[in-house]
């Protein structure tokens, strides 16, 4: 494996890790708001 190829692989891995981290954070926020919405819905009933 050439240094260029290794550099490309590291760069891809890093950018994918960042995207996955952001998506997971967004998922946590979404679940939080879904929970609040469900509680609100339950109280309305």
């Amino acid at each position: 494996m050439t240094p260029e190829e290794e550099h490309l692989i590291r760069r891809r891995q890093k950018s994918r890790a960042i995207v996955v981290a952001l998506l997971l954070a967004a998922f946590v926020v979404l679940i939080f708001f879904i929970t609040i919405a469900k509680i609100r819905q339950g109280m309305a009933h």
Binding site: I9, R12, S15, R16, L30, I34, I36, A37, R40
Partner: protein, 299 residues
Amino acid sequence: MTSATPILPPADWRDFVALTKPRVMTLVVFTGLCGMLAAPVAVDPVLGFTAILCIALGAGAAGALNQWYEADLDAVMKRTAQRPLPAGRMERQSALHFGVGLGAFSVILMGLAVNLAAAAILLVSILFYVLIYTVWLKRRTPQNIVIGGAAGAFPPLIGWAAATGQVALLPLLLFALVFLWTPPHFWALALFVKTDYANAGVPMLPVVAGEAVTRRQIGLYTVPMAAVAIAPWPLGLTGAIYGVVALAMTVVFGVLAALVTRGATRAGKTMAFEKQLFAFSILYLFVIFGALVADRWFA
């Protein structure tokens, strides 16, 4: 000694986005959103957002699985040759895992956060697109687009079910509208990209039955499509805003479809009316669904 199969570097995250066919997703999200906003029930904004997110992710999963299965076809078509799999930027198995994972995630989230009816229809729509359309029909019959059109017709039904927890006549008519709209829309495209499909060996109607039959079929499908588009108004399911817009847009669609059916030509331009019909058909669906929401909210 090991085999010399080249190992690809990990795919770029943008290629995973490309797998989901974001442009197709726009129409899916829009019709799903309109189906939800047209329902006679107020939806919690967070749950509504979640439902639309699930519809988008489900459509993305279906798109990814479609590209996973059709990588060989995509490679020989100019329009699709630069997709991540045929261009060699991604391992096939990555696309499969991504598609299955995304599909399962979207259905489970819809079931847990929204309701089971919407989750069930979402699951059926993904399976329909992947198994019935992509795997079974696309390479076997020139009617592939007709049956496959049903997969794209599910979003308004899912949106409505997400809001109400059930299915009613209006969303079923919306389903029928998208279902009947798909053949004229897609066959208009197939008329001017015929060579691409012929090279790939896909039995599209213009390839298998010829231009004349395709033009006639475009005309034949436009008639019930027009009836279904206008029907909600006389049936009392919508008001005049929707009725007038649907009528006007359907008249233009009908005129263009008639010109294509007759094989009319414009001096100096090849396939001018076919290209116009294809472009207008996209606008048609956006405007009709927009009018439906406007009718529900402002009438």
